[in-house]
Symmetry: C2
Subunit: 307 residues, 2 copies
C-alpha cells in the first residue's frame, strides 16, 4: 500500500514532486488504509483492488492534513515541518487540492464507481464538519452531541468510509457495509476525542506536532466542555478570558492554571473507551479471523496512543 | 444550468449555505458551462446530461476561484467581497474543498464515468500549473512557451475539458473530442492572456476585481515578459526592483512609471487574437449551426471583454 501511495502521488512536475516527497514523510500510522484492508479481509471481501483503495483513502487523508495545517496554522507534523511552514499557505492549499484531485482521478480508474461515490461524499462531509466547527468557535455551551457530530465529521467519516469500502467494494453487501461503517465511525470518533485530549495535555515532543492549537483557534473540545459545565461561574469567566482575551499568549498553560482539566480528560477518555468497546463488540458477529482481531486491536491502539 | 448549479451546491448545513449563497453572487459569465452545452450541440452530441455536466464544470470553476482568491490575497470579485475577505482564509479553503467534493460527487451520479475522469484530471493539471507558477515567480526570463504552459494549465485546461466533455460525453467520439478540446484550450489561453493584460492596464471599477495582483505576487505575465525582453538593462533593473523591492507600495503605478507597458500589451493582445482566430478556423470543419456560430462569437467575446 505504501508503495502504491508513493507511486500514485508521483508527478512529473519537479515543483510538485519536491512537495509530494516532503509530505510523504508525514506518513504515519496509515490507520485508514489499514482499515480498508482489514475490513475487507474480516468480512471475506478482499479484492485485488483493495490495496489501491487503501492508497486512495490515505491520499485523501494526506490532503485533509495539508489543508488542516493551513487552517490550524500548525508548524510541525510528525516531527516534519508542515507544508505551510516549509513553503507557504498558498502552496499548501494547492498541494492539498492536487492530492484530492489525484485521489479522485485514481478512484475513477477502479472497476466499480463505489469508491468514487463513497469517498467524494465523505470528503464533502468532512468539509461541512470543519466549516461548522469554525462557526461554533468559542461556544462553551454546545451540547456533547454537537461536539460529537463535528468531531465525527472531521475524523470518523473517513474511518467509516474506509471500513465501508473494505466491506462493500465493489458493491452490494449492504449489511456488512453498514456494520463496518458503524465500526469505523465509532473508532474514528474515539480517535478524535483522544486527539483533542492530547492537544490539551500532551507534550509537543511526544505527540510529534504542536499542542494547544485548539485553544488558539477557539475550538472547544469535549474535555473543556465537561470541565466548563461542572465549574462555577467565576471560573467559567476566567476560562472564556483565556480563549478570547486579546493578545493573550501561551493560552494552554494559562488554561491549565485557571482550571483543573483532569476531570474533563477523564470524562473524555471514558467516552472514547466506551465507543471503542461498543465498536469491538459489534464486530464479534463476524466469523473469527486474524483480521477481526486486528480490527479489535486497532481499537485498543487508538485508546492507548500518546502521539 | 444556473438553477441546477444553485440546487446542487445547496447544503443542509446553515453555516455552509450562508457561504454557498454568497459565492452564488460571483456567478459571472459562466463561459465554461456554456462551452459544454455549445460544444455538445455543435457536434450533434447534446444529451440530457449535458446541463448537469455544465453545472459541475461551473462548480469546479467556482472552487478554483475561491481558492485562487486565497492564493492571490484578493478582496473583491465581481464587485462582491471574496470569501477570504468576508469570512477568512480558513473558511475559503474549506468552502473550496466542499465545492470540489460536491462537484466530484455529482459527477459520480452521471451515467458515464467520462466526466469524473476528465474533470479530476483537469483539476489535477490546474493545481500543477498553479504550483509551477508559484515556483516561477520573479522569473523575468522564462520563455513564452513556459508562460503559455502555465497560463494554459491555469485556465485553458478547464475550457478544454468543458469542450471535450460537450463533444464526447458519454464516450467514444475521440475525433470530435480532440477537435473541441483544442478549440477550448486555445480560447482559454487567450482568455488568460487577456486577464493578465487587464491586471496590468484595467481599472478596478471596470474589471470588477482588484488589479495589480500579479505584480504584488511576483507573477511575470506575457506583456511584462515582452517588454522586459525588449528594453535596456537599466530599465530591466528598475522593473525587477518594482517587483522585488521590500516595502514597495503601489507597485503597479510604479511599474507604469518605470516602463511603457503598451508594446507588451499589444504583443499579448495580438497573441490572444491569433489563438482565437486559429480556434475559430478549426471548428469550421463542423457542419454550420447556431451553436458553431455561438462558439465563434464566444471567441470574439473573449477578445473584446474589458471585465
Amino acid at each position: 500500500m505504501r508503495t502504491i501511495l508513493e507511486a500514485q502521488i508521483a508527478e512529473s512536475s519537479r515543483a510538485v514532486s519536491d512537495m509530494t516527497d516532503h509530505v510523504g514523510r508525514f506518513r504515519g500510522k496509515q490507520l485508514r488504509g489499514a482499515l480498508v484492508l482489514l475490513a475487507g479481509d474480516a468480512t471475506g471481501n478482499a479484492t485485488d483492488e483493495h490495496p489501491a483503495i487503501a492508497a486512495i483513502v490515505e491520499m485523501i487523508h494526506l490532503a485533509t492534513l495539508v489543508h488542516d495545517d493551513v487552517l490550524d496554522g500548525a508548524k510541525v507534523r510528525r516531527r516534519v515541518a508542515c507544508v505551510n511552514e516549509r513553503w507557504d499557505n498558498q502552496t499548501a492549499v494547492l498541494l492539498g487540492d492536487f492530492l484530492y484531485a489525484r485521489a479522485f482521478g485514481l478512484s475513477t480508474d477502479l472497476s466499480s464507481r463505489l469508491a468514487s461515490r463513497v469517498l467524494s461524499d465523505a470528503t464533502r462531509r468532512i468539509c461541512v464538519g470543519e466549516i461548522e466547527q469554525a462557526a461554533l468557535r468559542y461556544d462553551f455551551e454546545m451540547p456533547q452531541e454537537t461536539y460529537e457530530r463535528i468531531a465525527g465529521a472531521k475524523t470518523a467519516v473517513l474511518y467509516g468510509a474506509a471500513c465501508e469500502l473494505g466491506a462493500r467494494y465493489p458493491g452490494g453487501r449492504d449489511e456488512a457495509g453498514a456494520l463496518l461503517s458503524q465500526f469505523g465511525n465509532s473508532i474514528g470518533l474515539a480517535f478524535q476525542i483522544i486527539d483533542d485530549c492530547l492537544d490539551l495535555v500532551g507534550e509537543e515532543e511526544v505527540v510529534g506536532k504542536s499542542v494547544g492549537n485548539d485553544i488558539e483557534d477557539g475550538k472547544i473540545t469535549l474535555p473543556v466542555l465537561h470541565v466548563y459545565e461542572h465549574t462555577d461561574e467565576a471560573t467559567r469567566a476566567r476560562m472564556r478570558d483565556v480563549y478570547t482575551g486579546v493578545g493573550v499568549e501561551k493560552r494552554l498553560s494559562k488554561l491549565r492554571a485557571v482550571v483543573e482539566l483532569r476531570p474533563g480528560i477523564e470524562f473524555a477518555l471514558a467516552r472514547a473507551q466506551a465507543l471503542v468497546r461498543e465498536a469491538q463488540a459489534r464486530i464479534q458477529t463476524l466469523p473469527p479471523s486474524t483480521s477481526r482481531e486486528a480490527l479489535c486491536a486497532l481499537g485498543d491502539y487508538v485508546l492507548e496512543r500518546s502521539w
